[in-house]
Symmetry: C2
């Protein structure tokens, strides 16, 4: 578990808390803590206090509450309802960028109607994880003048609720989205054009997550590209995108707490490095035991991986 106290501005996250069953070439994990909001929380809590709004069923285990709580995640917004917790089952082949969904049981998540505890209405940083865009908008309506709103989405909502998604995006500062999904959202294959088209829908900043190929950040006119950190073994890619979002927003939350200018590039590096830990084990297992020392070491390794000197003799 992490040693340092997080120094960032509070982050509110709304999304799914689930029990996942995942099969990968490295093994299988059955009925383990998962869901976009869980993965995001475990990552963001490295950097800032996290407030989780989600719903679980009666079957949700005390030890899983403890896992989140120990990471410093505030569970005052975690509703427990009659019925079973959301379940997802999926499998990965050799390509970690491609998940095959085997089963989805919405269970209590089907009627999720996120309500913020009153004191949370003033949370400065908001992450709308991948849920129904109408819910994303309803959450935003409950937050008063947040400093930074980020959102994720997925192919299902792009297909099924395009209009609602476009409405939701109007209130979003940062859209984090997969490479395949931004192409689907914008109908544009060229990634920079797609990012520009997505910016035109509202978000000033668009972060394209490319899995093992890294990420691209378009913000205003600025563009930043960075490779992924190649870990020796991708045990389970599930949650990598949410962990990226957690590291990214967590880093920005620290800058917001200090009233510093937002450095989106360093935030993307933080997201990249945190995501590289996420995929090293199933469920939240790797982020749970991650130390600041390991995080710092890998940031340094990432700098070595990506740094180069000026090409002086050509300048």
């Amino acid at each position: 578990m992490i040693g340092a106290a997080p120094g960032g501005a509070p982050i509110l996250v709304v999304g799914s808390v689930a029990y996942d069953t995942v099969r990968t070439p490295h093994g299988e994990a059955r009925e383990r803590l998962g869901g976009s909001a869980s993965h995001f929380s475990a990552a963001a809590a490295l950097f800032a206090p996290v407030r989780l709004v989600a719903v679980v069923g009666e079957d949700f285990a005390e030890e899983d509450l403890a896992t989140l709580r120990e990471r410093g995640v505030d569970l005052a917004g975690l509703e427990r309802r009659p019925g079973r917790t959301f379940r997802w089952a999926g499998a990965y082949g050799e390509d970690p960028n491609e998940a095959r969904t085997l089963r989805t049981e919405l269970n209590v998540f089907a009627d999720f109607d996120p309500r913020l505890p009153e004191p949370w209405r003033h949370t400065p940083v908001v992450f709308l994880a991948n849920i129904d865009p109408d819910l994303q908008r309803r959450v935003l309506e409950q937050v008063e003048r947040p400093k930074l709103v980020a959102a994720d989405t997925m192919d299902f909502w792009i297909r099924a609720k395009a209009r609602a998604l476009e409405r939701a995006l109007q209130g979003v500062d940062v859209l984090l989205i997969n490479e395949g999904e931004i192409r689907q959202l914008t109908g544009t294959r060229h990634l920079l054009d797609a990012a520009r088209a997505a910016q035109a829908l509202g978000p000033r900043t668009v972060v394209v997550k490319r899995g093992e190929y890294g990420a691209l950040v378009a913000s205003g006119e600025d563009v930043f590209a960075l490779p992924a950190f190649p870990v020796p073994r991708v045990v389970d890619p599930t949650g990598a995108g949410d962990a990226f979002a957690g590291g990214f927003l967590g880093y920005l939350a620290r800058q917001i707490a200090r009233d510093a200018a937002l450095d989106l590039r360093c935030a993307a590096v933080a997201g990249t490095v945190v995501a590289s830990f996420q995929v090293e084990d199933f469920s939240l297992d790797r982020l749970r035991r991650l130390t600041w020392e390991e995080l710092r070491e890998r940031l340094e390794a990432y700098r070595r991986l990506t740094s180069w000197e000026s090409l002086e003799e050509l300048a």
Copy 2:
């Protein structure tokens, strides 16, 4: 055309000179100058004198000779034989990483038996473009103590002549290879593991070309990852890998000329930037009219695209 005189050590390239017919979403080019050695030469000649060993048929046009000559490519090793020049026809869909071969006519290339002009036997830098690995080895046998030998290969040779390829690789310092092909060569999906496995075949340095996803350089223990430069329009991806190799080796040839330590990272940046120009037009059209001013500007743009400050508050 480029302005500055190239200051690098001479580079010998052996490969194909062809007439390509290419269809992409941006148009079609019929019977235009192509082939791995042509693309490589046009790129490498930006940085160093290039010596081309290849074969063409009686139909090869004087203006195409002129194109290469004007770029400073020495054609003393370009054999002209009875028959037609090698032809390739291919098409790209929306994914620039995937070429579909429509037709291959080896023609005079079928009996290509590369012979180096006597004075070229002492060329310090050698690039064995994607040809039969037995020919690659026969070329190497004709060069005396080169300082740097690089080679490319492709799926066809990996399948058809695996043994010969492994023998050829024993004399190679730098293997440049596509992502899909290194997986095929090594039977390993994980890219770092694949690079390590390829290094074990001989080359101290392995450069994995990932198309629009950039490149990975493994050299000894060191690893460097870099993203591609996202150009506004990929008109024709043909030759991007060869142009990368040309920029990469051209940059190293300049360092060899100055007896400087080889900076593989900057060389990979040079390759990346040169390849980004290559894809902006058909045939050699973009590299032909490329100026040093444009090259310098894009190197600066690439630095802006990829640079980030230390994450100080986490260190």
